[in-house]
Amino acid sequence: MTVAVPPDRVAPGGALPERLAAFGDRIEVQVRPAPGDRGTEIAARLRGPVPSGAAEVVARASGDDPRQELRTALRDTRSLLETGDVLRPSGPPTTRPTPTNAWLRLLTSRARGEGTL
């Protein structure tokens, strides 16, 4: 992930941003200047095993996959560093759960933790 702020603001004195620091030893993080004056590249990887195969499917569907937690933390970190805030969805909701939107609600409830980040 790339954030549009310089490295000394991403990790002043080597201290990671709060949302990533909260992972402690569970993640390995690299912070480096992005080429072309594009800010800072942050690479984060979970240490230890992550769910795979059928367990991965269950973990991702239930929202318990640690990669989802990390992706969300990375997205929050970028937004906090760049804007000082994390945008919340519209509210209060104008829709309610129905059998036909259950798939979409599942998708959107995981949408910050999934994806290509």
Binding site: T2, A4, R38, G39, R75, R78, S79, E82, T83, D85, V86, L87, R88, P89, S90, G91, P92, P93, T94, T95, R96, T98, T100, N101, L104, R105, L107, T108, R110, A111, R112, G113, E114, G115, T116, L117
Partner: protein, 391 residues
């Protein structure tokens, strides 16, 4: 409050929904004064973009009055009349710094959907499905506007609500097509689609110095608007051979810049339309790219094709051979509102960009479903249905 909501494929209903709340410090709440039915809404209505829930509020082209402002808002006060960019931008990420505001990194709250579809997520948009953030739309008495200091702009007193509301999307989108399509003085420009966006792209091309601008459609009343209000040339594709006419009108070269303002539900005469319809309904392609194919075929060697129409997924029979062998530049984008809106409001206030004629049907919001019926089926000379909440 009252809101015009999506209830299912081709079903709309005005219902009571909760009032929006300030959710982030940079938000404002607007009392909506005008909100417009856009052609891209028809893709949601028709189920071509499936990320909708029953009860979602539609609408992304709007103007309103600030009634509440979050503590971080510095550029707007309660009582201000503002027009709002349809795409939401943070103003701080790298993409915003490059003026690619609709590519904002921080405003789509459901990024995984479009990352899976397209590789990366664009920014959020008002009233445009959960794939673009699930933000409640503007067809309502009130709307929450995030990052209001970036995406909301004061409207000059010279402009009426019915004139100014189109800067929120149509005018800015059309201008972007001509600007990023690289219209230069002396160019011949062809525009597919005489709806509001196509008309505004044509006007932008004229203001950027094009020598000749030709707008293509099949609806006589829309082509008449182009001639009367914009002073451009027109072609009816059901009455003439478009490729031959465009060569005729460009000395055999083909247009320097071709702007597509039609989108994924394009119509065309002949068997190609049936072919695309069948493939789309069978989900063998998600979009019908008829006008894009024509634009690529028509463009001069080394020319430029800009795609303004909304496309969601995949198309068939894309003329890649023409793109490569003619050396074309093909580009598309969602609307980079903050890049253009302040300049466009000034031009509109000076009378350079006429928009009032686009509002062919100004209706109370309670008549929203009828407005979309008029708009979708091109009834009664409808170019755009504009809704007035609370009327």
């Amino acid at each position: 409050m009252k809101a015009l909501t999506w209830q299912g494929i081709n079903e709309l209903e005005v219902i009571d929904v909760p009032d929006p709340e300030i959710r982030n410090d940079g938000d404002v709440i607007l009392k909506v004064r005008r909100t417009v039915a856009c052609g891209s809404d028809l893709h949601l209505l028709g189920g071509y973009i499936p990320f909708m829930e029953k009860g979602d509020v539609l609408g992304h082209e709007f103007l309103g009055e600030v009634v509440e402002a979050g503590p971080a808002v510095t550029r707007h006060r309660v009582g201000d009349r503002v027009a709002v960019s349809s795409f939401i931008a943070c103003g701080k990420c790298w993409f915003c710094s490059q003026q690619l505001f609709s590519s904002c990194d921080n405003t789509n709250t459901n990024p995984a959907i479009t990352e899976a579809l397209w590789g990366q997520a664009p920014g959020g948009c008002f009233g445009y499905s959960h794939a673009l953030g699930g933000n409640a739309g503007s067809h309502a008495d009130y709307i929450r506007v995030p990052f209001a200091d970036v995406g909301a702009f004061p409207v000059p007193d010279e402009l009426t609500d019915d004139q100014a509301v189109f800067v929120s999307d149509s005018v800015a989108t059309g201008w972007m097509g001509a600007d990023l399509g690289q219209v230069r003085p002396g160019d011949v420009v062809a525009v597919w689609g005489a709806g509001a966006v196509g008309q505004m792209a044509a006007r932008a091309a004229m203001l950027l110095g094009a020598d000749r601008v030709v707008v293509i459609d099949r609806f006589d009343y829309r082509l008449r608007q182009v001639e009367q209000h914009l002073g451009c040339e027109t072609l009816d594709y059901e009455q003439t051979d478009i490729q031959a006419e465009l060569r005729e009108r460009s000395g055999g070269r083909g247009p320097d810049v071709c702007i597509e303002a039609v989108g994924m539900e394009a119509h065309s005469p002949g068997p190609q339309y049936l072919y695309d319809q069948v493939k789309q309904q069978l989900r063998l392609q998600t979009d019908r790219p008829t006008a894009v194919r024509q634009a690529i075929h028509a463009a001069r060697k080394g020319g430029s094709v800009f795609i303004l129409g909304v496309f969601a997924g995949f198309v068939d029979k894309f003329p890649l051979g023409a793109v490569v062998n003619k050396g074309l530049t093909v580009r598309g984008a969602q609307m980079h509102g903050p890049r253009y809106i302040p300049m466009l409001l000034e031009r509109m206030a000076r009378g350079e960009i006429p928009t009032a004629h686009l509002a062919t049907h100004v209706l109370p919001l309670s008549e929203g479903p009828r407005g979309y019926d008029l708009f979708k089926h091109k009834k009664d000379g409808c170019v755009r249905a504009v809704f007035v909440p609370g009327a």
